[in-house]
Amino acid sequence: MYPQKRSSHPNPVLLRLAVCCLHILTLMAAFAHGQSGATNSPDDDKIVADFGSRVKSYVESRKKAGGTAKPTKESAELAKHKKETKAKVRSERADAKQGDIFAPEIAAYFRRQLAAALTGPKGGEIRASLRHAEPVAPVPLKVNESYPAGLALQSTPPSLLLNLPRLPKGLEYRIVGHDLVLHDSVTNLIVDLIPDALPNT
């Protein structure tokens, strides 16, 4: 909102400064609340914290199982390390099921965030990026199983990521069809997923 013009003559420099400050404050507020401009309620903050602790627990179990390999020129060593780590993580999480990390309240929060991003000011660009990025056709995905070998990973639009909680290194949000997948790039395992997470817009 711009300051009203008054009958007395205000200092134009001060006026410009005030307008600039307003713009900066608006931008900062928009950034803090994500691209959609949606504000996290205290309940949302609790949900995000709960999600964070579930993710942390998964990352710790993966670290125990072998963690990330060291850089090497031997691709066979990388393949061996990944295979062994994956087997240990899968064994450790043998009972893992869909919703362990994306529990119902958490999944509902993610759906809201995704919908807000897709219907917000960046929605058109996000949808265009999803369409242009070589969309991955729906494939059967299962928690604690590998992401299909050789299948391209669709890029995740940056404006979408700005609306979701940050993840530790090695974990990624990936869009597969309309599903949101929590993908562990270290082991290539599907940690959890939300089916039909993206709204039909």
Binding site: T68, A69, K70, P71, T72, K73, E74, S75, A76, L78, A79, K82, K122, G124, E125, I126, A128, S129, H132, A133, E134, A149, G150, A152, L153, Q154, S155, T156, P157, P158, S159, L160, L161, L162, R166, L167, G170, E172, S185, V186, N188
Partner: protein
């Protein structure tokens, strides 16, 4: 002010067919997927490499490949041509624009789709600096030492006065955006070159530009004086019209090829969608010289770009 000067090839007929202007200003690619062009290219193959770079002392010289890792014959042919040109130009590193290994990522894939085709270059000590494409395995490739990624999805390195900022455009998360802003800002490099897989501008009809990626990274590029951007993904060669002082190249045809892929010439200076290729680049002082070369060793495009204080 940036200025582009386009050189005139010896094979003026081929150059015209390929869209390179015969004299002076660059011209849009007149036709795509030309059969006659392929035949003409076959005729000129086998001739001595025609070098359009000035080969100045102490310059930074490198090659560019994108969407290379098919393991098919055409990739090997491009690689062979790269080796021929390296003998003349002496580039000592190659930047990779993603899709470095298509399909599975078993040891035999790294062998057939990277180590064998580029063996002469690797044996000569040429270093490869990879960025990740949507067909790459982000874990295995960042840890694969011959790709020189230092174990990271995104990273930077410097050669002489030239800073290279290598991004993972598959997953441009807030952490990477923060890193990009800070790393570009802190860099004292005279030239700032960003490269990554998904193009911000493209006349390709298969993928086109990534609008959301552009909306997030372009303001950072502008704020921090990026001069040149290289991308792949679209399986063609395209040099785009400069946008606000930044020059854009797409090179996604070093292994894959998508013929008849240009939907328009709206943003195009020069394009090729009928053969595979690679590029060689030389940077000396305030000028970047480029030469795009086809699978059969023919010059597709060449010129020079003056550095602008962005």
């Amino acid at each position: 002010m940036l200025a582009v000067w386009l050189s005139v090839g010896c094979f003026a007929g081929v150059a015209n067919l390929l869209g390179t202007a015969a004299i002076g200003a660059p011209r849009a690619f007149p036709q795509s997927g030309l059969q006659g062009q392929a035949a003409l290219l076959e005729q000129v193959s086998g001739s001595a490499p025609e070098i359009k770079l000035p080969l100045l002392p102490k310059s930074v010289r490198f090659a560019v490949i994108g969407d290379s890792g098919t393991g098919e014959r055409a990739q090997y042919e491009v690689a062979k041509e790269m080796e021929i040109y390296r003998g003349k130009v002496g580039f000592d590193f190659v930047i990779m624009l993603g899709d470095n290994i298509y399909g599975r990522h078993q040891p035999k894939d790294f062998l057939q789709k990277f180590e064998l085709p580029y063996k002469p270059l690797l044996d000569a000590g040429v270093k490869f600096y990879a960025s990740l494409g949507n067909h790459d395995d982000p874990n295995d490739e960042r840890l694969y030492k011959p790709f020189n990624m230092g174990g990271e999805r995104y990273y930077s390195f410097q050669k002489g006065d030239v800073g290279f900022f290598v991004l993972d455009s598959n997953y441009m998360d807030p952490a990477q955006l923060d890193w990009l802003e800070k790393t570009l800002h802190d860099s004292k490099a005279k030239w700032k070159i960003c490269y990554f897989h998904h193009p911000l501008y493209s006349d390709g009809k298969y993928h086109g530009p990534d609008l959301d990626l552009r909306a997030q990274v372009l303001p950072i590029f502008k704020r921090n004086g990026v001069n040149v951007v290289f991308s792949g993904h679209e399986h063609v060669y395209e040099r785009l019209k400069p946008e606000e002082g930044i020059h854009y190249f797409i090179l996604g045809n070093s292994g894959k090829l998508m013929t008849h892929d240009f939907r328009s010439r709206e943003n195009m200076e020069v394009g090729l969608d009928s053969d595979r290729g690679f590029m060689i680049v030389e940077i000396a002082g305030d000028y970047l010289y480029f030469q795009a070369i086809s699978r059969v060793g023919q010059t597709i495009d060449s010129g020079k770009v003056a550095r602008q204080e962005n």
